[in-house]
């Protein structure tokens, strides 16, 4: 009880900005290694990225080799996770699928992060009419469900890797812009920025050297959690047959193909879904842990 009281007190102080925890560099890695869950997630992520990167060398079969006489095989010694309706090895396809999901998700998050940072900085730093304009656009983009809009965009553009990244980035950037704007608003009133302004530094220099480095932490947290969400969105769109072209190995598309054989070959439905869940769990743990370390004042739920 004493412990929780202390925590509550510390929380209160932090909320009132009396107690400011600054965590960067070595302090960050120290805290990271104190948390077993994050360590676990980090190791799992490294392992998974390694598998994805070296998929062509370690996967037992060619992920696109059709062997119709081996179609719909149950898991066995030859095919650890079985084969699909064209006789393709499921394990190989899941490994290659990790590449597709991870690379597209990283791309989308990076594009959204950069766009969001730029527009958020512009809105927060310049204020006035610029802020008004950008904020209204952000409001509109945040006020409806993103998946729906991504669906509509894909419906118009058609399937494809580039189109998918574009559609998902369009619905993602606004979140980053809003957080960045808030950060900039509070940072630009601080003394080090004011002194930079009085010493005649130009706007771009101030934003680049003073504002962004101090404002970026919550965006990195958001980005980490978002990678998981984007992977889910990619899988959803591909599952509906409007994400990626049919020949790209992707987990959602594999699920969609597997569901036709749910009665006779349920493993085709189970394994790709497990892969998705596993990756998203990793990014949830990482994101939450980073939030606890970098941004202790956050509101909302927490998990491990």
């Amino acid at each position: 009880m004493v412990d929780t009281m202390d925590n509550a007190f510390a929380k209160k102080l932090k909320k009132e900005d009396v107690l400011i925890t600054e965590v960067y560099g070595s302090e960050f890695s120290k805290r990271l290694f104190q948390r077993k869950d994050m360590l676990f997630a980090l190791v799992a992520l490294l392992l998974f990225t390694g598998l994805a990167l070296f998929a062509p060398f370690i996967s037992p079969y060619d992920p696109n080799a059709n062997e119709l006489r081996n179609k719909n095989l149950s898991p066995s010694e030859d095919h650890l996770l079985g084969t699909d309706y064209l006789g393709r090895d499921l394990l190989s396809r899941i490994l290659i699928g990790a590449r597709t999901s991870l690379s597209i998700a990283f791309g989308v998050v990076l594009i959204s992060l950069i766009t969001g940072t730029a527009l958020g900085c512009a809105a927060g730093y310049y204020g006035g009419i610029v802020d008004e304009g950008i904020s209204r656009v952000i409001d509109v983009f945040l006020s409806f469900p993103g998946v729906i809009f991504a669906l509509a965009i894909m419906g118009v553009l058609g399937r494809g890797v580039f189109n998918l990244m574009l559609a998902l980035s369009i619905v993602q950037w606004a979140k980053y812009a809003r957080v960045m704007r808030g950060q900039v608003l509070s940072i630009k009133k601080q003394e080090f920025v004011l002194s930079a302004v009085t010493s005649g530094a130009d706007d771009f220099y101030i934003i680049r050297r003073h504002i962004v480095p101090n404002a970026i932490a919550p965006l990195i947290v958001l980005a980490t959690i978002d990678i998981g969400h984007v992977i889910l969105s990619i899988a959803t769109l591909s599952f509906l047959g409007i994400g990626l072209p049919a020949d790209v190995p992707e987990w959602g598309a594999m699920l969609s193909a597997g569901k036709e054989f749910m009665r006779t070959a349920p493993y085709q439905t189970i394994f790709p879904g497990l892969a998705i869940t596993f990756v998203v769990v990793i990014f949830s743990i990482l994101g939450d842990g980073m939030r606890d370390i970098l941004d202790p004042n956050h509101e909302g739920g927490e998990i491990y």
């Binding site: 929780t4 009281m5 925590n7 509550a8 409001d139 509109v140 006020s143 409806f144 469900p145 993103g146 998946v147 729906i148 809009f149 669906l151 509509a152 965009i153 894909m154 419906g155 118009v156 553009l157 998981g228 889910l232 899988a235 959803t236 599952f239 509906l240 047959g241 409007i242 959602g252 699920l255 569901k259 749910m262 009665r263 349920p266 439905t269 189970i270 879904g273 998705i276 869940t277 998203v280 769990v281 949830s284 743990i285 509101e299 909302g300 739920g301 927490e302 998990i303 491990y304």
Partner: protein
């Protein structure tokens, strides 16, 4: 009151902005709208489409006018006559087709929302009361997986278990309560987990307050402390999250409806996208966005009701 008007104004603005966004999106497709209409009217004869036919269609639908004029006419029709376009495939007004599909989506989303709220809040309270005991840990791990599993995968797993192996319910169907169980369960799981997470955190914070310790010292039974003192104060963040979850539910409903062949707006949207029936796609997006905005409007009103300290200017 002033705030409500402002809020309603913003809602109208957003609906308008979404109209504009989707309208311009639908009109930038490669190949042009005229060709698309032609393809739908001359199925099987696409190759024989002539320039003449194309220009005929263009003049009939005013496709040669600049986009902003086309949009102006579209808005005018929509406001004056409730005409938001005609489906290429069904050849009927979009609005009419939407009203046919609306009840199914409202049923599914409503049932899932109810499950998410009831199960999420009660599990969250339970988890908070059991803080750091074994059942709390189990629930938190389950939550972690709950927010990470794709909804459509859960739907498929539920089908495998309950329809194919145990043969308890039919895979798909629409009309009675039994058909609603699997889709609503699959759709709500993610939201149950999210609501539970927030309830747990918020409840823990509230339970650490002085007045709760006082109530405890006074000898009130736990359920009374929760229901009389803690719940109402802990509910604020929960209400917010429920509003947000509506977006997830409506987005998730698209794929869940498709899996269970549920005749709602979501499955209509997917079918229209596959068939490139653009007016229908636009109508579905508009309908879903409007539903989402309405729910969040209601959540906002609830919010002021729950916390009288909040008085928006």
């Amino acid at each position: 009151m002033k705030y409500l008007i402002k809020r309603a104004g913003f809602m109208a603005f957003t609906v308008f902005a979404v109209c504009a966004l989707t309208f311009f999106l639908m009109n930038v497709i490669p190949g042009g709208t005229a060709e698309l209409i032609l393809k739908h009217t001359l199925i099987g004869l696409e190759e024989s489409a002539t320039e003449e036919q194309l220009s005929q269609i263009s003049s009939r639908y005013n496709l040669d006018d600049p986009l902003y004029l086309q949009f102006y006419w579209w808005v005018k029709e929509a406001v004056l006559r409730g005409d938001i376009g005609t489906s290429y495939i069904y050849n009927k007004p979009v609005l009419y087709l939407l009203t046919l599909r609306l009840p199914a989506t409202v049923q599914l989303a409503g049932a899932s929302m109810a499950i998410a709220t009831l199960a999420g809040v009660s599990l969250g309270i339970y988890s908070a009361l059991q803080e750091n005991r074994i059942s709390d840990h189990i629930l938190r791990i389950v939550t972690l997986f709950g927010v990470s599993m794709p909804g459509f995968w859960i739907a498929l797993i539920l089908i495998i278990i309950f329809s194919l192996k145990l043969k308890l319910v039919q895979v798909s169907g629409y009309g009675n309560l039994e058909n609603l169980i699997l889709p609503a369960a699959a759709l709500s799981l993610h939201s149950v987990a999210a609501v539970m997470r927030v309830t747990r955190t918020s409840m823990l914070e509230t339970l650490g307050q002085e007045y709760i310790r006082f109530a405890k010292a006074k000898g009130l039974p736990v359920w009374k402390i929760i229901s009389r003192h803690a719940l109402k104060n802990a509910m604020l963040p929960v209400v917010t999250v429920i509003g947000f979850q509506m977006g997830n539910l409506l987005g998730g409903a698209v794929v869940i409806e498709k899996i269970f062949a549920w005749p709602g707006i979501g499955s209509l949207l997917v079918d229209s996208i596959s068939a490139r029936d653009l007016p229908m796609v636009q109508g579905c997006v508009l309908a879903i966005v409007t539903m989402f905005l309405l729910v969040n409007f209601i959540v906002d009103i609830l919010y002021t009701h729950l916390d009288p300290r909040i008085r928006y200017g």
